[in-house]
Symmetry: D2
């Protein structure tokens, strides 16, 4: 490996401050639990950023040294400034990885980069979920067996309004009768994107070893190691063009090439 992957874990960080039961579970925030886990893995260095920091903690400088951005948000999607969303989108298109967790499906950045509503069915009844692994050789499922079982989760059900994924990694079964495309990858511009469904604030999802293995695998997979800025160049011909006039056909006009251009 050699190269270190720089991950920034972004968290809205509001539930943990406002709701006692969430604080008990994630006393220093969901971002801290995820970042600590990632920092315990070889070759990954994880920092954090949160909504209430200046520029939501996602300055040009922070993003420029971020290889993979992990996103958790829920109750305050609308408070994320459009200028920051623009900046994150630009970086993804340049080659930064993006991992969107659970309720992040409704974040501005996820809807922006996919172009769809990203809506779904939902229900909070602490029911059982089983995530079936459809892609056992994909880097994201390294070390995961046939399925991941979560005893208590919020339900997300189809139809999930997303572009057809490049690859469908997990499909969930829910006790209450629904299914969901729980692990999906897309490539946009030069960046790799992974959506991963599990992760409610009141269930201890981010203490689950298999869930954290998937997130770690995804961080490694989403790391392209490249930054390719956008451009739209006026290009000279690579082959010699023959002299020609423009035939305007039924429009009744004939011009030389020089008249055009």
């Amino acid at each position: 490996m050699g190269e270190t992957i720089n991950v920034t874990v972004w968290n809205e960080y509001r539930h943990e401050k406002e709701h006692e039961e969430v604080r008990k579970l994630y006393p220093h925030g969901i971002h801290r639990v995820i970042a600590d886990y990632l920092n315990s893995q070889e070759g990954i260095k994880a920092d954090t950023a949160t909504l209430d920091e200046p520029e939501h903690g996602l300055t040009e400088e922070v993003l420029s040294r971020t290889d993979v951005l992990i996103w958790w948000g829920h109750m305050a999607h609308d408070q994320v400034e459009d200028a920051v969303v623009d900046r994150v989108q630009k970086r993804v298109l340049e080659g930064m990885g993006l991992i969107v967790l659970h309720s992040g499906h409704f974040s501005k950045i996820f809807r922006r980069i996919l172009g769809t509503n990203c809506s779904l069915k939902w229900r909070e009844e602490a029911e059982k979920e089983r995530l079936w692994n459809l892609a056992p050789t994909h880097p994201i499922t390294r070390g995961i067996g046939e399925y991941i079982e979560l005893p208590n989760t919020e339900m997300y059900g189809e139809r999930f309004d997303i572009p057809e994924p490049d690859r469908l990694i997990f499909v969930s079964w829910f006790e209450g009768g629904e299914v969901f495309r729980s692990g999906c990858v897309w490539e946009r511009g030069h960046g790799r994107i992974f959506y991963f469904r599990p992760g409610h604030e009141t269930y201890p999802i981010f203490y689950n070893e298999q869930i954290m293995t998937v997130i770690t695998n995804a961080a490694r997979w989403a790391h392209t190691g490249m930054t390719l800025p956008d451009n739209c160049p006026n290009s000279k011909p690579l082959e010699k063009l023959s002299p020609k006039s423009v035939d305007f056909g039924s429009a009744g006009v004939v011009q030389s090439r020089e008249d055009i251009g």
Copy 2:
């Protein structure tokens, strides 16, 4: 068939007013030439809308009765109001078709709905283009043979910064040495999208019978005949849930379902 397809042809309509050579070619605007052609086809009724009309001619009312929107823009992409872009995006995701022509690759709506930069290489040298038909049974290529040849076109070259198309319909060869994915389809939300490369303002592309056949085919293909509004419902279980408590595992907390959320 029976059902009429309502098409709205949107044109920026600036080149035609400002440049003499363009006006000679399209005296009443590109939109007029496209709409007239479509109106000559069975089962299609085409109207037009342009940038300088109030709300760019794309009011809620116009969009609500539009089955397929065709988009041509070039020099004034930035003058399209974001509120109108939002409105068009919402309608596409609900099931309206969208056909984006040529320089429309850089329109706000195309970049919005795809989520990428949509940049490319370009050159204006009136060179030859040959669009190879990769999908001879796709409805969009009905009546088109192995390729369409255009004697004089602006060149667009790869890499075209788009999401991998659901289906690649045409690939162009250019005299100067480049290739381009010239006909691409995607589905977003409930709407079908077709990007079609040909169509410069100073070449008589929209007088070409094959080009107009493709656009007509695309209008028929993009017509879903459905409007499915977005929603994100809280859903009751379809199956009986067993009573259960929540095991917070390593977080050291056990809660009853009622304590949660």
Copy 3:
């Protein structure tokens, strides 16, 4: 519409002869029930063919006038002759539609045209299945709501060993805890293929109105109306080639063009 779609419903037709309980349910065979339903639909003319007929009922002549072939097989996949499989494959690649039902996932033709093992998990416990509709604007789901519920079915579970579908239409939920990609489409050559999971011989699946609606929709969708024979032509250049010699570089050989070819 106008044009009639010629469907051939192929059935192995062994269970119905050998097992009393299956015969009670499908006294004249599964193929008869499907063909009768299709013949009651506008614009469709359905015939049947079965394993024990000469050439399995799939002669060159039958296939040449078949627009869409429906396939049900289970206990005698191995008895289908390779020459007939070759013939069916050839016709699909030329533009014939193919609809494969239920246990047909293990038929020679399905594995041949997809290239994979097409294996899966299974269980016969008459459990409940719910097929979620992921593609409400796709022609195959016309008239189908959010899901189809089947009270008693054989279970098929992931991982289903298929190439990633071009479009995922249905995903099933099973009472016993599994999920399955139950409706999948692919295009191969010029032919459209639909796999549809429901259809066990001992449950009355093919008497279910919604199931038969899907099969009817699929027959319409899979009908391309084209037959495009395969070829691999030696093609003359479309552009003038410049005279040139071949530089064999590090291989140390320079040849004129004439020495090559």
Copy 4:
């Protein structure tokens, strides 16, 4: 890296023996040139196998220790035994990588694993080809710039009869006016497949540094490091099934679950 990738380079090895001009270029066979290059790369160990060896050099034992198989064939595709094709297909579906070069598009194994005719247009005029890189962050294009230019190649033109690739890596421009999808990837079963167009026996393609870089990259990418044998298990329910009877509805039969099975 650590782990060594075991590559087997398979060559038909007939042109080199039968045609003087080919022998001059590849005195020990195309396979030797490719294997020698790969053996000069870190972490790769390449062996060879040819048509005229027993079992074409592809015994169970050889395949079981092959991580990635590279395939070059042209004039003797039909002489490859079906049993060996079966064996290779089985290994690809289990997780072995497969790289098919140039005229290998018509090999039995390529057509088998893709299920299509894999036909195309072709011409031998030593014309110029330019392979445009559409996927600059894909592992296969590491170290390759915007395009690869080959001064003299056989032309392959669209329509190439393949399943839509999972990802389109290269598109070729040809001097004579055609385009071609020259670098395509698919996943089948657990195996990764790359088709790469360049490679004619009378042009020094396999002495080209960029071409060999792509082949090396592809060998690394196609190596999954996994062998997952096929199975189709009868599975016990993961959830408790409720007792139930089968409602045969319009078929007029009601059975208990025990009657079915």
